[in-house]
């Protein structure tokens, strides 16, 4: 066969055919749908790699998984009324194969999710959640009773009225969107922590991430913020209600809430204490600045 001035050999034909097929096969998706009768407080376990998982709580006694899974992955889904496991892959898997799933579970279900880079979005649940990703973002909205969310590189966003929370991130930023919680713990390595929160007991800590938060103190609330070298900026709508204790070993302390000034300690460190309110705020840094900022 002649192709213009060039001769198209058998090898060339094979090469062109392979080039045509390769990218198409890599992007192809297969539809997926499974459902099962399920208890209101049953346990659901989901494992995924790339892509996205969206979980929605509903007032039905069943679980429903639907979406698309990359060709080449063998999905697994099995369970009974009290427990159901779904994995977007089983056994041998290929690299970079995104799956996109929408999952509906009873609102009181106990949910456990682990992904590599798949983004996880959860809304409308009030049971216990455990969510883990390596690089996927985590976004949770609702009235969750107990939540553990950990990610190495993904962003972590939480909003709603919740009970007991443990949030952990590496470089991913943690955002608290007007979060109300009973007991809250947030820990990052380099990720920033920001937003607004209200909790009976809370602890935020970071190695080098900056903390920029609005503290809504309530009676008896105790909040602790610790960083090694991240800057801590705290706002509050009612500074008079807060008992403040600040300490920094090397960082500057700036107080815009009141006229109180920090005092240097001997032989090292700076501290500032003031207030007689009903909520307690403690901030400590090694090298990061502390700023009590105005609104």
């Amino acid at each position: 066969m002649r192709c213009g001035p060039f001769r198209l050999t058998g090898t060339c034909r094979c090469l062109v055919a392979l080039l045509l097929l390769a990218p198409v096969a890599g992007d192809a998706q297969q539809p997926f749908h499974r459902g099962h009768a399920f208890d209101q407080d049953g346990a659901v376990r989901i494992l995924a790699l790339e892509g996205s998982i969206r979980v929605i709580g509903w007032d039905r006694d069943s679980v429903d998984f639907r979406g698309t899974i990359a060709d080449g992955l063998r999905p697994f889904a099995m369970g009974n009324r009290s427990g159901y496991k779904m994995s977007t892959y089983e056994g041998v898997v290929t690299t970079s194969a995104p799956s996109h799933l929408t999952v509906r579970v009873p609102t009181g279900a106990q949910l456990w999710i682990k992904t590599t880079n798949a983004k996880v979005t959860i809304e409308g649940l009030n049971g216990a959640l455990d969510v883990f990703t390596i690089g996927g973002a985590i976004d949770i909205t609702g009235s969750v009773d107990a939540l553990v969310a950990e990610t190495l590189r993904g962003a972590l966003t939480v909003r709603g009225r919740m009970g007991w929370l443990r949030l952990r991130a590496g470089s991913g930023a943690v955002q608290l969107h007007d979060l109300v919680a009973r007991d809250l713990s947030v820990s990052t390595v380099t990720g920033n922590i920001s937003g607004a929160w209200q909790a009976e007991r809370s602890r935020m800590e970071s190695m080098s991430g900056n903390v920029d938060l609005t503290f809504r103190g309530i009676a008896g609330a105790a909040a602790e913020i610790d960083t090694h070298r991240g800057t801590v900026t705290v706002r509050t709508p009612s500074p008079r209600d807060v008992v403040v204790r600040l300490y920094s070993q090397q960082g500057a302390i700036t107080n815009r809430w009141t006229s109180n000034l920090p005092r240097p300690l001997t032989p090292s460190g700076n501290e500032l204490e003031f207030g007689q309110g009903f909520a307690k705020l403690t901030v400590r840094t090694f090298a990061g600045a502390i700023v009590l900022s105005g609104q």
């Binding site: 192809a28 009290s82 390595v189």
Partner: protein
């Protein structure tokens, strides 16, 4: 007592004395469940070992270079192998034909993708899970770091992270590997700086508390990173 086995992360938190919503139920389960009791024993060993990392030394300066050499070297091998096979093909296929094929491939695959999914996902994969056969793929950075020359505490920490790469062959991208390394170094640096400040001001209770916190975060990071890579 719990009907189901608690998640490993729950057992982790139990061992580390964190508050759990169902702590008594979890403890009761562990007392009667041999597999869970074994997991708890493993975590207790991990806790004992990480608790002794009080004087964690900073990684030696050459460690990062070793990691980089390993990654860059592996990628260079892949590039060399690819370019050598490409040359042999290109000797037989002329450039205009390759160009035309490329255009054709782009048009066909784009049409197919748009038809099937609306918009293509152009995101570069980060973490990859591969078959055991893929372990020989030099393009994939495996979470195994050459720690020769590193201080003993750092080696032990990395050993914990390495040990987390399970039997299921979870591979980690170079970016993630770098991130784990840099975050470990950050903890080591924080502990060392705080320790120096405490040595200079030994009665400072704030520094003492900060040092304890930095060590705890260090251990927590190793624990949570280890757990993140398990179970795939």
């Amino acid at each position: 007592m719990l009907i189901h086995h608690p998640a490993e992360d729950t057992l982790h938190r139990l061992v580390y004395g964190e508050q759990l919503p169902q702590a008594s139920a979890v403890e009761a389960h562990v007392r009667q469940c041999t597999p869970c009791a074994e997991i708890v024993q493993r975590f207790e060993r991990l806790r004992r070992e990480t608790a002794s990392l009080d004087r964690a030394a900073a990684p030696p300066p050459e460690l990062w270079q070793q990691v980089r050499d390993r990654t860059v070297g592996a990628n260079a091998s892949l590039r060399a192998a690819t370019s050598s096979s490409e040359r042999s093909v290109l000797q037989r296929v002329r450039w205009p034909l390759a160009l035309a094929a490329g255009v054709l491939v782009t048009v066909v695959s784009t049409n197919r993708v748009l038809r099937e999914r609306g918009t293509p996902d152009m995101r570069t994969p980060d973490t990859r899970v591969a078959t055991p056969q893929s372990a020989s793929d030099p393009g994939i950075a495996v979470l195994t770091l050459d720690t020769a020359g590193a201080g003993e505490p750092t080696q032990r920490l990395l050993a914990h992270v390495r040990a987390s790469v399970p039997q299921r062959d979870v591979f980690v991208s170079a970016d993630t590997e770098r991130e784990i390394m840099s975050q470990l170094a950050l903890f080591t640096d924080a502990v060392a700086r705080t320790q120096r400040a405490l040595d200079a001001d030994p009665n400072n209770v704030q520094l003492e508390s900060m040092l304890e916190r930095a060590r705890r975060q260090h251990a927590d990071f190793v624990r949570s990173t280890t757990a993140l890579f398990e179970g795939f």
